[in-house]
Each structure stands twice: as structure tokens, then as C-alpha cells.
Symmetry: C2
């Protein structure tokens, strides 16, 4: 992980799976990756959830890998017929796919003798030219094809794979944030916040309404890569909030 | 809501908000909408999370509204400077946007006399030609522009708006699903499930591994619009599972 102080590094995340779109599975990977990327100074710039349909996966991968520094995917790399991510990635890059000797060795080391069945060998199918991502939880690896990182969908495995990947990524200058909680509906401070944003165009001022038991409060979040600018703007926000009566 | 038995009705959902991409807010609307759409017979075919950047919102809206029966958006319709969804939708459709007399009236009825401030009036800015979506929680309406339904991001408000919208939608034949829980890692039944899928191409058989405390189990989900086909395939899945030793 090399922090290059002035570079903006971006990423997109593609969640692959009919079960997320049908509501049967509630995704837990988006929030995890969003937090993780923010912490290491990579801007997660877009997320897509797509079904288990090859053309849709190919389309999303090819569009996003051209647009962002990194693409991450989760889901569809298991041993069953509906696991079509590896084949879709091969198609997206126009390369062949076959059982990879390195991945096969990993499975043979992981499972007891004779238990690397034909179904499990499906998990050793890796697009030609890809590097492997270690899977400390359940053996079968993910893989990296150029800037596309292909991971499992099971949260515990996906999270372990992100830990494996991040040290290999270049990271940008970290986005910092501080916030002020205001016991006010956001409309009461909207005009003043808008003026403050205009005066500090390089800082992002976000206003997030919350509804707790029918009562509206607001969290004002100030984001920037410059800690001094954040301090200045946070002080101004606190001033606005304390000058506004409920 | 008119259920047309042979029509497939599709939808995409665009979640608008820097705070979801940064991890600060954990989205709760995707799972809600996914369940809801499944229940009313609309296929949620794609989800995108995009930042508070006009060009990115316009691009996503224009791409998805051409592709799916309906588009839903959440987020960015409040009173502050970072609420840019309404302006972005107007731009996407190439129409003007101004304070809408119907929306203004709603705000005047909702707030006490004199409290419809300039900031709150921002929430009455509606693209020309749009219909309104009632907001029983906090007054300020969402809106419908052709097949695009624009809703608030606060989950309680978004959910109330979905309740308002759904009776106006056409719905397709409902996708049904049943599942079998197998106390087996999915690789043990992968080959048999693959054969079963090949024999029943009109039914979707999904295999979802779970990792509970280091132990792998599998949920096999069978989806179809034809209840008889589901029954047939579920019986075959149960047979496969009971014939497989742990």
C-alpha cells in the first residue's frame, strides 16, 4: 500500500447475485467495503448490484474497469452451476479460462485427500493471466485480472480477501471527515450551510436528516483531504448551529 | 396495481448519496425495496449507488430509464445545498424546474404559518411535467417523471413513499420461491444441482453457501413464476440432499 499524497484513487464495487436483488439476501459487503476504502484513502465512487447473467456482468465490469482505478466484485465464485463470475470475467477481458494449476494446488492442500471433487475443481477455474487472492477462510481463491479484484460473496470470506488485497493497492490521500450533530431540522440551517459551502468550495459539506421517533435532527458532515480546512469549516458549522434556535 | 399475468415488469433502483459510498450511512433502502418488489411481482434488475454529482445522476437515470419498466431513486430531495436530485432529474429529461404550486401548497398546509422558509421552499422545486408523490411522514413530496419515481433517502419516508407509489404501478406475474436448507457444503451437491438446472431451464436454482461459526451449510433456492414447476424441482432438491452424506 503506497500512499501517494496527491493522487486521487477511485474504485467501483460490483455485487453479483440474484439473491440480493430479490431481497432474499441482505447485502453486508457494501457497507464493509465503503468503510474500508474510506479508511485507506480510496474513493468508492460507484456500486452496482447485478444479477447472475453473464452479459450483465461483462457489461458492468467493462464499463467500470475503464472508469475507475480499481474494480472489486463479490459473489459467484463457488462450485455450483450458478457461479458464473469467473467465466464472465474471462469473457470481459477476452481471455481463455481453465483449471489453474496454482489454484488446483491450493484446493489439494486445503481439502483432505481425494476430496477435490469435480465440483470443487470448478473453483480452480481462473481466467488466463490472472493472479490469485488467498482465501484464509475456505481455501478456494479469488483472483485479480488487471485492475479487477474478484472475491467471494460470503461476508467472512470477502472481508478476509479485502485484507489480502489492500496491501497491494495504491492508495490516495485519505479523505478526512468530522461531523456536528444538530438538534434541529435541516431546513433551519440550510441557507447558512449553503453560504458556507459556497465560501469553501474545496470542502464537502453534507447535511443528513434523521428521523428519530418522529423528531427531525441533522448531522452535518464536513469532508476534505486538508485537516486545517475541516477544522475551519467545523468551527463555522458549530457557530451556525448554536446561533439557530430550535 | 394491475397484475398482468404474462408480462415481466422490471425496475432499477438508484441510491443517491456520498454518505452511502463513504460508509458513513449504511443503506437500509435496497433490502426494503428488493423485498417489496419481489412481493408485488416486479423484478428488481439492477441497483446503483451514485454520488451527489449531477452528471453521474443524470447518466444513471438516463441509462436505466431506457432499460427498465420503472426507475426508483432515493436521496437528495431535502432543503440543503447538497440536495441536487430534483435538478438532476430535470436535466436528465431536458425540462425546466421551478417551485411547483401544488408542492408549495403541501408545504404551506404542513408547516405552521410563516414557517415555509426559503430553504424549505427548495423542497417544492419539481421538474416541469412531474406528478407528486405524497409524503405522509414529513410533508415535502417526492415526484414521478414518466417512469422515474423520485423518493427521499430517510428510510421511514422512503418506505411511506413506496406504499404511495405501488398502487399506481403495473405489476407482472409474481416470482415465487421456495428453499431447502442443506447441512452440507455446496460442493457436495453442486454436480447434481447442475444437472437438475439443465433439466429445468425455466426454473432458477440458486445455491447459497453460508458460513456459520466456521461450518459451511447451503441454502438452495428455487425460483419460478410457475408454482407446479417449483414443487417438482424442490422435491428433486430434497431428494438430492437426503441422498448426499455429510
Amino acid at each position: 500500500m503506497s500512499g501517494q499524497q496527491n493522487e486521487i484513487v477511485t474504485a467501483a464495487f460490483i455485487v453479483i447475485g440474484d439473491e440480493v436483488l430479490s431481497g432474499r439476501t441482505k447485502d453486508k459487503n457494501i457497507g464493509f467495503l465503503a468503510d474500508y476504502m474510506t479508511n485507506v484513502g480510496i474513493d468508492l465512487a460507484e456500486v452496482r448490484i447485478v444479477p447472475d447473467i453473464e452479459d450483465r456482468i461483462v457489461e458492468a465490469v467493462n464499463e467500470l474497469r475503464a472508469k475507475y482505478t480499481y474494480v472489486f466484485t463479490s459473489g459467484g465464485i463457488g462450485p455450483t452451476h450458478d457461479d458464473i463470475t469467473a467465466d464472465s470475467i474471462a469473457k470481459a477481458f477476452g481471455v481463455s479460462i481453465d483449471i489453474d494449476p496454482r489454484a488446483r494446488q491450493i484446493l489439494e492442500d486445503y481439502y483432505p485427500n481425494g476430496e477435490v471433487t469435480e465440483a470443487r475443481l470448478r473453483m480452480a477455474r481462473i481466467p488466463s493471466g490472472a493472479g490469485l487472492i488467498a482465501n484464509p477462510v475456505s481455501g478456494a481463491p479469488g483472483f485479480v485480472m488487471e485492475n479487477v479484484h474478484v472475491m467471494a460473496g460470503v461476508p467472512k470470506i470477502m472481508q478476509a480477501m479485502v485484507d489480502e488485497i489492500v496491501p497491494t493497492l495504491k492508495t490516495g490521500q485519505k479523505m478526512l471527515s468530522r461531523h456536528v450533530d444538530a438538534d434541529l431540522p435541516e431546513s433551519r440551517i440550510a441557507a447558512a450551510l449553503g453560504d458556507l459551502q459556497s465560501a469553501h468550495p474545496d470542502v464537502m459539506i453534507g447535511s443528513y436528516p434523521k428521523n428519530d421517533d418522529g423528531r427531525f435532527t441533522t448531522q452535518i458532515v464536513v469532508r476534505s483531504r486538508d485537516p486545517q480546512q475541516i477544522d475551519t469549516v467545523i468551527a463555522a458549522v458549530e457557530q451556525i448551529v448554536s446561533n439557530t434556535k430550535i
